[in-house]
Symmetry: C2
Subunit: 134 residues, 2 copies
DNA sequence: TATTGTTATACTCTATAACTATA
DNA sequence: TATAGTTATAGAGTATAACAATA
């Protein structure tokens, strides 16, 4: 079948993102975490005391969507009041343990992704992608 | 803020796909078509008489999801029975006209996307992406 | 005035299961 | 048996509007 679409970088981007997201989701199933959960946990781990709003801004997640996400992570995240309206987030011991599991899955998967890219293109992938959204 | 996530190609892929999809959707608003609509119209235009199932297979769209999609494109697509259970799809005159509009938007956008990528990385984007899903 | 956290809501995309009819 | 078209449904991801309380 004639198919001109794969020649469009935007289309290839969508297909690649879709395929890899589905694969990572399947691999994360055992941890009970979603990709967005893991990214939030990673950001909190790297920045203890950060607010939910700041996490959302950094990851491109709307404030409103942080609420159910953090609710799903109950027990893994600790909330400590900063002032009357802000709360600092940090991982609990359980949160660190779960993140440690998830991190193995994610980092293994990311390494595999890079390995799938032919060597001559490999180092160009990340800079090219970053130019499209940063 | 410390943020290790942009160093993950899978994460960058998701962010880039998300950002570009939102932008293209906004640009397509005037045409009344979605990205998936345009990709379906393009595939039918390139392969007159193709079945809905074949289009879905090629584009990674489930058969079941082709039904409301084609219903949305009523008037743009013509269905002719091939045998008792299959229908061949083709564009109507209106379909060709709408696709012509949408094609300008999409091709302009795709060219802009490539232009955003630094020249030394540009030619590597498409091959690298294709390695991730093909 | 701007920001935080929150509630409610809606739209899109995608996936699965199941059914009918035909090849 | 496998495939085409269809219906119904559910899960994610994402977006907006609006509100109260606080900076």
């Amino acid at each position: 079948m004639r198919d001109p679409l794969p020649n469009f970088p935007g289309y290839a981007l969508r297909r690649a993102a879709n395929a890899t997201a589905a694969e990572l989701s399947a691999r994360l199933a055992d941890t009970g975490l979603r990709q967005s959960d893991v990214s939030v946990l990673m950001l909190i781990a790297a920045n203890p005391g950060v607010t939910a709003s700041a996490v959302g801004r950094q990851l491109g997640i709307e404030r409103a969507n942080m609420v159910p996400l953090l609710k799903r992570l109950e027990g893994l995240i600790d909330r400590a009041p900063i002032d009357g309206k802000s709360q600092g987030l940090a991982l609990t011991a359980a949160g660190r343990a779960r993140l440690s599991e998830a991190r193995k899955v994610v980092e293994g998967f990311e390494a595999e992704l890079l390995a799938r890219v032919p060597p001559e293109h490999r180092d160009h992938l990340l800079p090219a992608l970053e130019a499209l959204w940063r």
